[in-house]
Structures are given as structure tokens and as C-alpha cells.
């Protein structure tokens, strides 16, 4: 019964969509405080390699390795974030880009540990360890009418869904809180915010570190979903891809990042015939978007209009 409906292919794609939503969020949070970070691929790599290596060499349970990976990425985010306070706008973007590339070269050359470009194989897969946990608890997939690999991907997808939901809840709550308002004011005008008594240092580093943590978390989950990573997975191309999720979907709203990640992850699957030209289309799309609608597809006006409210122009 369930067995026919749940195709591991769809579930696999769903898993990647969820991971990409996380990555989009990792760009969104710093961006909401006015910081464009192109280093998300680097933090993703830190999370991925840390978690994978801990799991392979020390055989620690995955929930520990993933957490450690994300935390390490977050800590590096703080370390990188503090000196970056002096930089604004494009300067910050380029510095973070440089950082991401340094990390990648570092992974390539630290061959003893990361095995360089050959990559790390045999990374324990999260879904499969969930299956083992279930079996140990006496649950058999067959009882639900599922095959083993369907259960694996279903469990993985559900876990990712939970994690993403928690993240989204957190980010949205934060946006509507004092912290979120501090971010927004810093984004609009740093000097004004500072003169209003907002501790810019604290908030900027907070946003940056949060972004790094989320990227690291996504990276670790990515490693344990796909089972094999290499430095090429965390290149400049990846950073640009992640950036596009948020920029395309809508950089003002959290839902924009979600939207962007969903559509752009599905695109290669739906548009296989046009998949060849995918990046060419992305390039053209970015140019058109920036010229015509730089805030991305979804923005506040659109959302309000969709909810049927009218945008008043000052008078009731």
C-alpha cells in the first residue's frame, strides 16, 4: 500500500530539496543583517568533512558527529566574522569568497586526513542508521508494507523535514523578535543603528555565525545523505548556486529562500531536456532579475497582495 506510493527517487529529491533550503537559509540570515557571505560553501565543507571524518574514523553516532560538524562551522564563523566587521558590502562578499576558496584548497592539500581530491568514501548514511535503530527497536519496515530502501529514504526525509521545520521556526521567530529588528536596522543603515545604541558587533557576528552554523549543519547532513564527498562539492560554483536560491526566491523574506531552493532543486529534474543549458539560463535569469526585480520573486508586496490586502499609500 504505502510501498507503491513512496518512490525512493522522489524521496531522494525531497531530501536534496530540504538540504538546499537549509543552505539558502544560511545565506539569508547574514543577508538580513546586510552581510553578503559567499563563503557558505566553505562552511558547508567544514561541517561535511568534520562529521564524515568523525563518523568514519571514530565511529561515533551520527547525531553527535553532525552536531559537532555544525558547531565547528559555527565557531569558525565567529572567528571569521569578527575581523570581517570592518568590511561592508562587496568587500565582505569578496573576502568570504576568498575564505571559501582557501578552505577548499586546504581540503585538497590536507591529503592525509581528507584524502584530497579523491574524496571520502564510505560515509555512513543517515537513513540507513535510522533503519538500524528502528530494527533494533523491533520495528520492521515490512510491517508498514515498505521495502528496506523505501524506509531508509522515508526516514531520512522525515528527519530532514523535522530539522528544516525547526530551523524555519527559529529563523522566523528570530526575525520578528528584537534580534530580527536589530538585523533589519543594521541592514538598512549601520551608522544609524549604531547611534541608536544597537551593539552592531554583537548582532553582525551573531548573524554571520548563525549562517555558518546552518551551512555546516546542511553540509554534515549532505555528507550523510550522499555517502561520498570531495573538495569539488564545496567550490565557488556551489557558493554561487546557494546564493541564487535566496536571490532568485526572494532575499527579503524567509519564505523566499524556501521557494528559491525548492524551485531550483526541482528544475534539473523536471527540465532534463533543457538541463544542458541550466547554467546558461541561471546566468540570464540573474541578470534579468537584478535589472527588473532585484529583491527576488517573492517580496513583501507580493505576499500581501496574495493575501488580498491592499498596499495603502500612507492614508488609511
Amino acid at each position: 500500500m504505502l510501498g507503491e506510493v513512496l518512490n525512493p527517487y522522489y524521496l531522494q529529491v525531497l531530501c536534496f530539496i530540504l538540504i538546499n533550503i537549509m543552505l539558502a537559509l544560511s545565506v539569508y540570515v547574514p543577508l538580513s543583517s546586510g552581510q553578503l557571505s559567499l563563503g557558505s560553501a566553505g562552511f558547508m565543507g567544514i561541517g561535511a568533512y568534520t562529521s564524515a571524518l568523525l563518523a568514519i574514523h571514530f565511529e561515533l553516532p551520527l547525531y553527535i558527529t553532525i552536531l559537532v560538524g555544525a558547531l565547528l562551522a559555527g565557531v569558525v564563523g565567529i572567528i571569521v566574522g569578527i575581523p570581517s566587521l570592518r568590511l561592508t558590502g562587496v568587500y565582505l562578499a569578496i573576502a568570504t569568497l576568498g575564505f571559501g576558496e582557501v578552505i577548499r584548497v586546504f581540503f585538497i592539500n590536507w591529503e592525509n586526513v581528507t584524502k584530497g581530491s579523491v574524496g571520502l568514501t564510505g560515509i555512513p548514511q543517515l537513513g540507513r542508521s535510522l533503519l538500524n535503530v528502528a530494527k533494533a527497536a523491533g520495528l520492521e519496515p515490512g510491517a508498514f508494507g515498505l521495502r528496506n530502501n523505501q524506509f531508509v529514504y522515508l526516514a531520512l526525509a522525515i528527519l530532514l523535514l523535522i530539522i528544516v521545520s525547526v530551523l524555519l521556526w527559529f529563523v522566523i521567530r528570530q526575525k520578528n523578535s528584537r534580534i530580527g529588528r536589530a538585523f533589519a536596522s543594521i541592514q538598512m543603515d549601520e551608522k544609524a543603528a549604531e547611534s541608536m545604541g544597537i551593539n552592531i558587533t554583537y548582532y553582525k557576528v551573531l548573524a554571520f555565525a548563525q549562517g555558518a552554523f546552518i551551512a555546516g549543519l546542511a553540509g554534515a547532513l549532505f555528507a550523510h545523505t550522499i555517502g561520498f564527498i570531495s573538495p569539488a562539492d564545496f567550490s565557488y560554483h556551489r557558493a554561487v548556486e546557494i546564493l541564487i536560491f535566496t536571490v532568485f526566491g526572494g532575499s527579503e523574506l524567509v519564505i523566499g529562500s524556501v521557494f528559491g531552493a525548492v524551485i531550483l532543486t526541482l528544475l534539473p529534474e523536471l527540465l532534463r531536456s533543457v538541463s544542458d543549458y541550466r547554467y546558461i539560463l541561471y546566468g540570464i535569469m540573474l541578470v534579468i532579475l537584478m535589472a527588473v526585480r532585484p529583491q527576488g520573486i517573492l517580496d513583501v508586496h507580493l505576499l500581501l497582495r496574495m493575501r488580498g490586502k491592499r498596499m495603502t499609500r500612507g492614508t488609511g
Binding site: G89, G98, M285, L286, P294
Partner: protein, 293 residues
């Protein structure tokens, strides 16, 4: 070996310098980092390959073709990607950056499609001429590259400071509105600037093809990132800085390979970016004003 590596470093550095000149010109006038510059450089190199290997044109004609095509690309870049963003209220300062990233992705993948992924050979008799001084071999191409980069630097400086167009450009760089009130056709100047910058990218591209015998669609990305590092090191908007920065980067990369671990070669540029931005964001020759942007 030291002399040879020195020559290698200066040649590489000169090419980096020419690429950086293009970057610095656009940044100086528009305050925009053109992430597509590296790809324009790559297109210039491919035009060189196409005209010499496929069409069999002589070298000087290939040069001309390369400059023309890249200048036209620059024109399109300005009109479609940069101009719509100017003067719009509420557009974040990041929009031009992202737009040029879009152009760079577009160009990189377009050339993958048109030219395939691999290196293409570049044949030119000029590239074969060499001199032997003792145990050291110097190629005429290497000397030419260095000379061209110096000429371009001097030429650009003179143009900027002495000619009417150059002064108009500097005025526009200072303040677009004031310049336009004073009668400068800012739109034309800006377009001209981007075209010149792109043309220089084309020159660098074809020089690379000649010097190293190979062009590949991947060369744009790494050159673009290195070019960024150079203008940050030398000071964004500074012509002198671009050349000095380029030479410094070329020499450090070469010496790292010669005496250290060649695996970390690319990391130098990026580490440099980070360090400079933290210690002295305006670069060696940059002015403090640049920091404010």
C-alpha cells in the same frame, strides 16, 4: 633556475596586471566589481584560437578581432547588466555584483557548449621565437607581454590624466551627477570605459594563448578571482596598483611553486585578499575614500 623562475614570474605577473587593469578601470568609474571580467578575458583568448587555428588569420588580425569582440561584449555588459541598475532607488549595492556574476556564469557555460571543455591549442610562429642566454631560455613572447603591460599602464595613465576623455572619465568617477551637470556625457563615458576594460581583457586573453599555448573555458574563473585579489592588493581604482599588484602576485605564485608546495598556489591569491582587506583595505596605492563604499 632563479633567473628562469624570475622570468616566469614576471611574465605571469604582467598578464595578471593587464587583467587587473580592466578590473580597476571599471571599479574606479562605476564602483562595481565586474565578476564577468575573467570570462571576457577567456572569450578573448578563444577568439584568438579561433582566428588563428581555424580561420588561419595572421596574428595581428587575431589581436584586433579579439579586442573588437571583447569590447562589444563589454558594451552589451554595460547596456544590459549594469545600466538598468544605475540610478534606481532602493537597489542594494549588491545587485550589480550579482548581475555580473550572472553574466559570468552565462559566458562560462556558453563557451563550454560552443568550444567543449578541454584545452585548445594555440599555434603561432611568433610564439616559437626564443633567445638562449647561457643556460637560460627567454621567449620573445615573454618579453612582449611584459612590454605590453608596461605600455598599457603608461598609456592608460597618460590617457586618464592628459586627454579630455580621460579627464571626463575621472570626473565621472568622482561624482556622476556633477560630471553630467558639467557637460560630460556620462552615459557614453561609462560605456566607453567598460568597453576599454573589456578590450584589455581580450588582449590579456590572446597573450595568454600565445604564451602558454592553451586556452580552456575554465581559465576565466581562476583569472577572475586572481584579478580581484590583485586590485584589492594594489588598491581598487589605481592603475599603478593594478600593475604592481599583478607583478607581486605573479612572482609570489611562481616562487611558491619553485621553492615550496605547488598545491597551495591558488591559495595565495585568496589569503592575500583576506589579509589585505583586514589590514589595509584600501590596498597599497588606494585612497582612504575607497573604504567608505
Amino acid at each position: 633556475m632563479l633567473i628562469e623562475q624570475l622570468i616566469n614570474g614576471v611574465t605571469l605577473g604582467s598578464i595578471y596586471a593587464i587583467v587587473a587593469l580592466g578590473f580597476t578601470l571599471v571599479f574606479g568609474v562605476l564602483g562595481i566589481i565586474n565578476m564577468a571580467h575573467g570570462e571576457i578575458f577567456m572569450v578573448g583568448a578563444f577568439i584568438g584560437v579561433l582566428t588563428t587555428s581555424v580561420l588561419g588569420w595572421p596574428l595581428w588580425l587575431a589581436f584586433l578581432a579579439s579586442i573588437v569582440v571583447t569590447a562589444i561584449l563589454g558594451y552589451f555588459l554595460e547596456v544590459f547588466s549594469l545600466r538598468p541598475l544605475r540610478g534606481k532607488k532602493g537597489v542594494s549595492h549588491l545587485a550589480p555584483l550579482i548581475s555580473t556574476i550572472g553574466v559570468s556564469i552565462f559566458l562560462e557555460n556558453l563557451s563550454h557548449h560552443l568550444f567543449g571543455a578541454g584545452n585548445k591549442p594555440f599555434r603561432a610562429e611568433f610564439a616559437e621565437i626564443r633567445f638562449e642566454i647561457g643556460s637560460v631560455t627567454i621567449y620573445l613572447v615573454q618579453i612582449t607581454i611584459f612590454v605590453i603591460s608596461v605600455i598599457l599602464m603608461i598609456g592608460l595613465s597618460i590617457w586618464l590624466s592628459k586627454t579630455k576623455a580621460g579627464k571626463a572619465l575621472r570626473a565621472t568617477a568622482e561624482n556622476i551627477e556633477t560630471a553630467s551637470i558639467l557637460g560630460v556625457d556620462t552615459k557614453k563615458i561609462i560605456t566607453l570605459t567598460v568597453m576599454i576594460a573589456s578590450g584589455m581583457g581580450g588582449i590579456a586573453g590572446i597573450l595568454v594563448g600565445m604564451a602558454f599555448n592553451s586556452v580552456s573555458p575554465q581559465m576565466g574563473l581562476s583569472m577572475g578571482l586572481k584579478g580581484l585579489a590583485i586590485i584589492i592588493l594594489g588598491g581598487m581604482g589605481s592603475v599603478k596598483g593594478a600593475v604592481v599588484g599583478g607583478l607581486i602576485l605573479g612572482l609570489s605564485e611562481t616562487f611558491l611553486v619553485a621553492y615550496g608546495d605547488s598545491g597551495y598556489r591558488d591559495a595565495i591569491a585568496f589569503i592575500m585578499i583576506i589579509l589585505i582587506l583586514l589590514i589595509r583595505p584600501q590596498g597599497i596605492f588606494g585612497s582612504k575614500a575607497a573604504e567608505g563604499r
